[in-house]
Symmetry: C2
Subunit: 353 residues, 2 copies
């Protein structure tokens, strides 16, 4: 057996491109168009660089307490990781150790099957229906765990808490994970169900709602028992995943939630404006409650539109994937950015005729 044979073979997740083009209107990775707030800025300015010679607080306890207060749970019900991707990666390793497959929708966050491949966890993709909706009965079967985003990505569609509760009731022998990366743009959080269902785990992120994609903070909220086991695995992986500056920045953001909530309201208003304009241009789309739209035109090829937008300095996301190869995912930017987007899209459609 050569050393090459001892290396793990995986098909990695491919994130949206991050090109360094000036003046690009970047609508491809669901970033928040507004800055993270004056309190974050001040926290960085005030930060004493000499402290960096010391290790950070291992469990980011102040930030953990602030999150607990925000969500009305105890500190022991909060887990913090290096971005919600790391939270998800550790959660797959911690929670999904049965023989049966882990279940998630066929159209969903495409990192889920990558985690399964990495850890050799069996999984089954459950097709959404024709309207891209989750059909709860499909999840009433033996499994080693269930995970889906709510709102779902890249569709933006929400399921009700009532449906989540039905899925929980039918799955009391598995961990059910609701990935709430986009919940703050019009969805309803399932945090209220945690007291009742110790097998429910919720993930959230500072990347979208809190405009902090650059700092990498992800969160899991669940029962003390599950959170403690997540920390055991985290402490078998990396003692100090959250650096000292990230802890201070996260805390400053938690103290600026009103400003951040206002930004979310602006994004929601711009989303609804963009929906309306796109429908006028003949686009079809699910009724997104996230900070992106998932759009399709009956007469124009999605990949062609993607390329023509790119030529005009507007970057959106195109997925080479079955069922959705005629869709584009468009992040909601500022009102001004979306007006330019609509303007340019109009020109492209006119050209194409």
């Amino acid at each position: 057996m050569s050393w090459q044979d001892k290396l793990r073979q995986v098909q990695p997740y491919i994130a949206g491109e991050q090109p360094r083009i000036q003046n690009l209107i970047k609508l491809n990775t669901n970033e928040n168009p507004y800055h993270p707030g004056i309190k974050v800025k001040e926290a960085i300015q005030r930060f004493d660089a000499s402290k960096l010679s010391l290790y950070p607080r291992p469990d980011a306890d102040e930030l953990r307490q602030a999150l607990a207060d925000y969500h009305h749970v105890s500190e022991q019900q909060i887990f913090i990781g290096n971005g919600s991707d790391e939270v998800l990666a550790l959660l797959f390793l911690t929670c999904f150790n049965g023989e049966a497959p882990v279940l998630f929708p066929d159209i969903s966050y495409s990192f889920y099957p990558v985690y399964c491949d990495l850890y050799q966890i069996p999984y089954q993709k459950i097709p959404l229906n024709e309207q891209f909706e989750i059909v709860k009965e499909d999840y009433y079967q033996e499994n080693s765990g269930i995970i889906f985003p709510n709102p779902n990505a890249p569709t933006g569609l929400c399921v009700s808490l009532h449906m989540i509760e039905d899925i929980l009731k039918h799955n009391q022998e598995s961990i059910v994970v609701i990935d709430e990366a986009y919940v703050d743009f019009g969805g309803e959080s399932a945090v209220s169900l945690i007291e009742q269902y110790p097998n429910l785990l919720i993930t959230q992120t500072f990347s979208k709602f809190r405009s902090l994609a650059g700092i990498r903070l992800g969160v899991a909220i669940g029962s003390q028992e599950v959170i403690a086991r997540l920390y055991d695995v985290k402490n078998s992986f990396n003692s100090y995943p959250i650096d000292s500056l990230a802890q201070v920045i996260g805390l400053a953001s938690m103290q600026d939630s009103d400003y951040i909530q206002d930004n979310a309201q602006k994004i929601i208003a711009t989303r609804e404006y963009t929906k309306k304009q796109l429908k006028k241009l003949g686009f079809e789309m699910p009724d997104s409650k996230a900070n992106f739209l998932f759009i399709k035109h009956p007469h124009y090829d999605a990949q062609t539109l993607f390329e023509k937008l790119r030529e005009r300095g507007i970057l959106v996301r195109y997925f080479h994937q079955p069922r959705i190869e005629q869709y584009l995912r468009v992040t909601i930017g500022t009102q001004q950015q979306m007006e330019i987007f609509i303007e340019e899209m109009k020109k492209i459609l006119e050209e194409e005729i």
Copy 2:
């Protein structure tokens, strides 16, 4: 099978304590007593907080290039992770996938067996000899990988590049990892051997030499082939592990290497002073080339000394572990801190008589 049965059971690594006591002389987690430098400070001051709404550069390419230049290798031979603990965690998952055990010393970084337990990798601890030295012939047996720190922790002892080359020659079918967390305090790096041995992987960290434990930056240096596979696994785990501020801070540190090298020289001088003073007090120790000493007194119990130092506001590291339960690991602080340490130790020994 209940949801609890699907949770992974592990015995996590326990890091040195990080108490929040004012005026503590903290000599327990091998942190650098000097601040990370004026360039790091300026980089934080200059940082534009509004950039944090965007994702970081996925592979920290500027920092990667700076590290490549520093080590005289290509960018494709550098891997960057969220602290060297994450680098090690991903490396165990990527590189050690054989049937035979992974080999490492019995007295070494105690995170190694934790990673093995986490991923269910078989391992075998190879006893150091009576002088705490690595015996190279012990590593001439079938294995799925070899890892040891050089200098070793917590002993501080180095092996020669000649010995490393012998181990490489006898292990051309496994990845051999040299963990160089402490190499810059008097050891000799094996980076020069990388061209010749594509199965050699070296890990380093910004935490000790560069006074940046608070920011979490770890590095692996190896052949393009191994580094590419590490990135595949990293991209199956977390797309953006290095946040934007950490990238900027790391880069600033790379541009301040002369200042950092001066600090290392000061630490080395203080270490040699401390060795001499401790020997005068009757302590025995291996000849450490790291930023810590591993000390034992023939007449005084190590745990008692640990506790008495703590009462006097000095924190060192004590390990409840076979073979080393009569040793203390003492980080080298500033000259002034070490003079206080010696002073207090004298008083304790006098009291005990």
